[in-house]
Subunit: 245 residues, 6 copies
C-alpha cells in the first residue's frame, strides 16, 4: 500500500528545525513535520511558582495553542470564548510532562522555563512536532541561561533528549507519523514520547474505532521507537549548527 503522500509506512515526513526564529525568546524554534508547522519559544524567568519557593529546584511548563486558521476551517479563539478547551489543556500538560522528564530540577536551580508551542499550520501530529521542537528551544534556552550565569557553572539541567511521534493503524496497516487525512481514518492512534536512549516518557494509545490487541500495540511501539530515533538525530544535528546559520 502506498500512502497519500507516497511515503513508506515507516517513513517520517520531511522534518525541518529552524532555531533562533525569535529575537526576544531565550530559545525559539520553527519546526515542521511535513505541512504541520509549530512555533516553539522557551522563556526563562528567574524564580519559581509559589508552591516551589525555597526548594532550590526549578520548574518547566508548557502552553500549546492553535492559531484560529491553522486548520482547514477556522476555529474560534479560546481567548474569545473565554475558556480553554479540553484538548488544549490535555496537550499542554503532555508537552510539559514530556520535557520535565529530561530535566534535573536541582541543576536548573530556582528558575522557570515556559515553553509556548503555537501551531501556525496543522496537518496532523501537532503535539508530537511541538514536543520535538520544544526540546530544541529548551536546550537553547538552557545554554543561554548558562552563559548568563543564571544557571550555575558546571550544572547540567538536561539529563537527556526527548522527541515524540504519532503512529496509527490505517486500513489495517501500521503507519508512522500520520498526516491529518491518515489520522482521521485511523482505527488506532498512538502518541509516543521517547528519550534519546530509546526509553518511554509517555505512551498514549487510543482506539478510535476497533479496540487493539497486544500484537498491534507491539508493532506500533516498534514503529514509534524507530521514528523517535530518527527525530533524535535531527534534533542533535540542529543543535550542532551554529545559531544564526
Amino acid at each position: 500500500m502506498s500512502r497519500i503522500d507516497g511515503r513508506t509506512p515507516e517513513q517520517l515526513r520531511p522534518v525541518t528545525i529552524e532555531r533562533g526564529w525569535s529575537k526576544h525568546a531565550e530559545g525559539s524554534v520553527l519546526i515542521s513535520f511535513g505541512d504541520t508547522r509549530v512555533f516553539c519559544t522557551a522563556s526563562v524567568t528567574e524564580g519559581v511558582p509559589r508552591w516551589r519557593k525555597g526548594s532550590g529546584e526549578g520548574w518547566v511548563t508548557a502552553e500549546y495553542s492553535m492559531l484560529p486558521r491553522s486548520t482547514n476551517t477556522r476555529g474560534d479563539r479560546e481567548s474569545v470564548r473565554g475558556k480553554i478547551g479540553g484538548r488544549t489543556h490535555e496537550i499542554s500538560r503532555l508537552i510539559g510532562r514530556s520535557l520535565r522528564a529530561v530535566i534535573d530540577y536541582k541543576a536548573l536551580g530556582e528558575n522557570t522555563i515556559v515553553l509556548d508551542c503555537d501551531v501556525l499550520q496543522a496537518d496532523g501530529g501537532t503535539r508530537t512536532a511541538a514536543i520535538t521542537g520544544a526540546y530544541v528551544a529548551l536546550a537553547d534556552a538552557i545554554a543561554w541561561a548558562q552563559t548568563k550565569k543564571i544557571i550555575k557553572a558546571g550544572r547540567k539541567p538536561l539529563t537527556g533528549t526527548v522527541s515524540a511521534i504519532s503512529v496509527g493503524i490505517v486500513d489495517g496497516t501500521p503507519l508512522l507519523d500520520l498526516c491529518y487525512e491518515e489520522d482521521v481514518r485511523a482505527d488506532t492512534d498512538m502518541n509516543v514520547v521517547c528519550t534519546g536512549d530509546g526509553r518511554f516518557v509517555e505512551v498514549q494509545g487510543t482506539a478510535e474505532a476497533e479496540p487493539f490487541d497486544r500484537k498491534e500495540l507491539n508493532v506500533l511501539l516498534d514503529l514509534a521507537t524507530a521514528g523517535c530515533d530518527n527525530l533524535t538525530a535531527l534534533q542533535l544535528e540542529a543543535l550542532a549548527r551554529t545559531l544564526g546559520e
Copy 2:
C-alpha cells in the same frame, strides 16, 4: 515486598458496585475501589448535539468532577473558580472515549447518554473506578431506554464491556490498582482501559520520574490486563443482580 494495605502486587482493592443509587437517573452506580468512591449516573435524553443531527446516530459523553473535600485537603470548586482545570477536562474526555468504544451509534439511534462521574472520596484510581462504574450505569440506562422503546426493538447499542485499572512501578515493583500513597511514590504510572475480550481501548503510560523501558511496559500491561479481567467479572456479576437487591 508487602504493600501498604497488605495486598499482593497483582491484587485489586475490594471493589463494590451498587446499582440504582439514584431514583432520578436512568442508570446509577456507586462504585468503590477500596477507599475511592465514585458516584456515576447515566442520563438519557432523546436527540443529539447539533453537529450530529440527522445522522441517525447517537452520542455518549462524560463529565468527571471531584467534590471539594473528596481529597485530603479541600480543593476549590471549579464552579467557584469559574473554569475547569486541565486534569478534569482530560479525565472527562478519557471516560467519554472509553465508553464510546463499546457503543454502536447506529443502534443507539439519535439519543444522547451523559455519564456524570462525581468523586465522593478519592484514594487513587478515581478515573479507572469512574470508567468501570460508568459502564454499569450505561448498561442500565440502555436497558431502561430499550424498555421505554426509546431505543428500537432488537437493537443492541452495547458491543461489549469496558473496564479500567491503574498500574505503576513503585520502588522497582510493578503494582496493580495503586492507592493514593502508592501513586504518589510511583516512578511510572499507567492507566489501561480494556474491553471484556482483553483488547485495549486506551493505554496511557507516563514516566513520573525515570523513563521506562519496553520490558517494564510489558510487565505493566500484563498486570493491567489481568486486573481488567477481574473487573469485567465483577461488572457482569453486578449487572446480573436484580436492580434493588
Copy 3:
C-alpha cells in the same frame, strides 16, 4: 386531606443522619429527608481570610451545590457553564449565615471551617437538609479540632444547635417538610431556621402565588418550630452515637 406520601400535615419525612461518611473531612454527614440526600463535609483549616487576620476570631462559611443528575432532568454543571447561578449563591449564603448564628468566633480562634453541602439526590427541602446535616458535621469538626488542640482547651465555639425545615401552604393546607411535588404546588413556601431553644435564625417566606396574611404566617411558624424541635432531637441523638457505629 392525606399527603402524597401518606404523612400527616405536621409530620417530617423519615430523617437519617450518618456521621463519618468521609475518611478525609474533619466532619462529614450523609443526611436524608425522605428521598432528599445531601452529603455535608466540614473542613478545618488554620488561619482566616485576609480581612479577618489578627482579629483573634474564626470564620465559618458554606458552599452548596447540586450534582447534575440530582434532579429529575439533568442540569448543566455550573463549572462547565463557568458561573454560579443565583439560586446556588443564595443557598450557600443562607447555610453559612445559619451556622454562624451558633458560633462564638472568639472561642473558635483564628481557624476557618468550610461546610460543603452537595446534593446527591433532590426531592424538595435540599437547603433545610443541608443546614441540618451541616450542623452535625460542624459539631464533629469542632470536636476534632478540640482534640487536636487547634481550638484551645476549655473553649466552646458552639453556642447552641441549629436546624432548618420548610413549610408551605398547599391547596389551602399548611404542611411541614414539603417534598418536591408539594413544593411545586405550594402557594406559599417558607424556610425556617431555628436554634435548639426555639428561637429564629432565619425566616424566609415567599408567596409563590397568592400573598399570605398574618394568620397564615403564624400557622406556618408554629408548624416549623415544632418540626425544628424534632430535628434538634435527631441531631443530638446522632451526635450521641459513637462515631463509626
Copy 4:
C-alpha cells in the same frame, strides 16, 4: 431613644419618587429613601423567554446592581471581575419575585418587562427602595404598553401594588427603615414586602447576632406592615401625578 437622624422608631426616612427620569425607558423612576437613591427602569419587549413561548403568558424579571462608588469605599465592578456576586443575585431574584406577585401573566400576554434597579447612592435599604420604585416604573410601563396596544384592550396585568421596607432591632429597640449605620449595628434585620392590602409577598428575617424570638418577630412585622402602608400611599400619590410634572 432618639435615632441617628432624629427619627422616631416607626418613622420612614423622607421618600421621593420621581417618574419619567429616562427618555428611553417605558417606565422610569428615581426613588430615594433618605440618602439611598435608586434608578429604576422598566423595559418592555414583545415576546417571552424560550421556556415560556406559546403559553400566552408574559414574564417580569429584575436586575439589581450597585454603581462602584455608590458606597463609602469604592467596590470593584462585577463586569470587571467577570462574575456577579451572591448578594447581587439574591437581591435581583427578590425584586423579580416581589413584582411578579402582583402580575397576572395571562393579562400581560406574551410580553416581557425587565426592571433594572441601579443604586446610585447607598445608605441602607437599597433593596426595599428598589422594589418600591420598580413597582412605580412597572406601572408606568404597563400603562405605556396598554396605550400602544401591546397589551390587549381591557386587560389589567397589575393585580395590586407592592412595596417593601426594612425593619430591625438595634440596641434592643425595633426600628423601621434602617439607614446604613443602624443596619450595621442591628441584631436582627428583616426585609418585608407587602401588597397594598397588607398581605405578605416576602418576609426575610435574619439574626445577625442573637437569634430572635416570636415576640420580637411580631413587633417587627407590625412595624413593617405600617411602613408599607405609608409607602403604598406614596406610590399611589406619585402615580396620580401627570407624568412630566
Copy 5:
C-alpha cells in the same frame, strides 16, 4: 441646513454640570450634553498599583459603563454576560489617558484616583461628556485630597484642564457635538480631546462611510477646538461655584 434640534452647525447642546451629586465620592458630577447624561465619580485611595509602588508617583484611571436601559433598546449588562465588550474597554482607556494628560504624577504622590463614568442616559457623545465631567470630578477630588493632606501642601497635581467633544460630517456638513441621530448618519466621526490652552490630547477620526481628506479634517479640527474652548469655560465656571450651591 438646520439641525434636528435647531442648532447651528458649530453650536453645543445645552451643557449642565452639577457637582457634589454623591455624598460618598471625593468628587462627583452629573454632567449632561443635551439628553446625554453621565454620572462621574472620582474615588481617592492612598497607595498605587503594584507596578508603580515605590516610585513616588500616583496613578489615575477610569472605568466607563452604560446602564442597560441608557439606550433606546435595552442592552445586556456586561456583568451578566461575564465580559466587558471592546467598546467599553476602548472608551475606558480613552478617558483614563485623557485625564492623565493633565496630571503631574509626582505632585499627586503615591495615591490613586479612579474615575467612574456611568451613562444614565445616552444620546450621542457619551465619551466626550464623560471626559468633560470626569475632569471636574477629578479636580474636586484633588482639592479634597489637598484639604485632607493626602496630597502634600504646595503640590499641584493638575497641570491644566481637559475637555472633549465630538464632530462629524453629516450630509456633507461638518457639525459640532453630534446627537445620536446625527451620529448614526455621519460619514466621518471624530472625537477630539483638548487641554484648556487649545492643544490636543487625543484626536480620533474615523471614516464611517467615505474616507475623508485633509481639508475635511482641518474643518473638523477647527470646529472641535472652538467647542472645547466653550467646554473649558463651562468647567471653570462650574468649579468656581461653591460646592452645594
Copy 6:
C-alpha cells in the same frame, strides 16, 4: 539626528510581504516591518452574522492577538486569563473598521471574511503592519472567492486599497514608522490609516506626555501620508506577483 537603526526620519523600516504562507486559509500573508512580524490570514465563510441576514450584504471583521513571547518579556495568554484585554479589543476593532472602509458590502454578497492577525514578533507598529498585511490577505481571499463563484461574476467587493503607518514625535523630531524603542520614548504617538488615493480612514493621535499643537499634527500627517503611499506601492507589488513565487 540619526535614528537607532540609522534610518532618516521619513524612512520606513524594510517591509516584506510574503503571500500564501498558509495552505488552509483563503488568503494569508506574513508581513514584516523591520523586526515586527505579523501573520495575517483571511477566512471566507458563506453566510453572515444573524443581525445581517437577508440584507444581501456581506461582513468583514478582524481579530488581533500577540503570541505570549512575541515581546521582550513573556505575557500571559488571554485564553489562560479567560478574558481579552482592552488593548487587544481596541486593535481588533481598528483593523476591522480599516478594512471595511474599502469593502462594498453589496458586491461581497452574504459572505463573511474574518481577518486573523497574530503577532509572531513585536517591535513597534504591530497594528499598522497588521492592517497593511491583512489588506493583502483580504485581496487574495476575495480573488479566491471570485474564482469559486462565491462572489458573483463581475462584482468587485474591493473599492480601493488600505494601509497604515505609525508616526510620532521623539525628542522633538517627527519620525515615521516607530520601532519599539522609539515608541516608548515618543511624546506623541499617531496611527494613520489611508486609502491608496491618500484619504484618511482613521487618524488616532495620542499625547503620551505633552499635548501636541496643530502644527505638530500637520507635520505628522504629512509624514504618515507619504509613508502610506510607499506601503500602497509595496502592497500592489506583492499582489502583482504570482502566488507561490
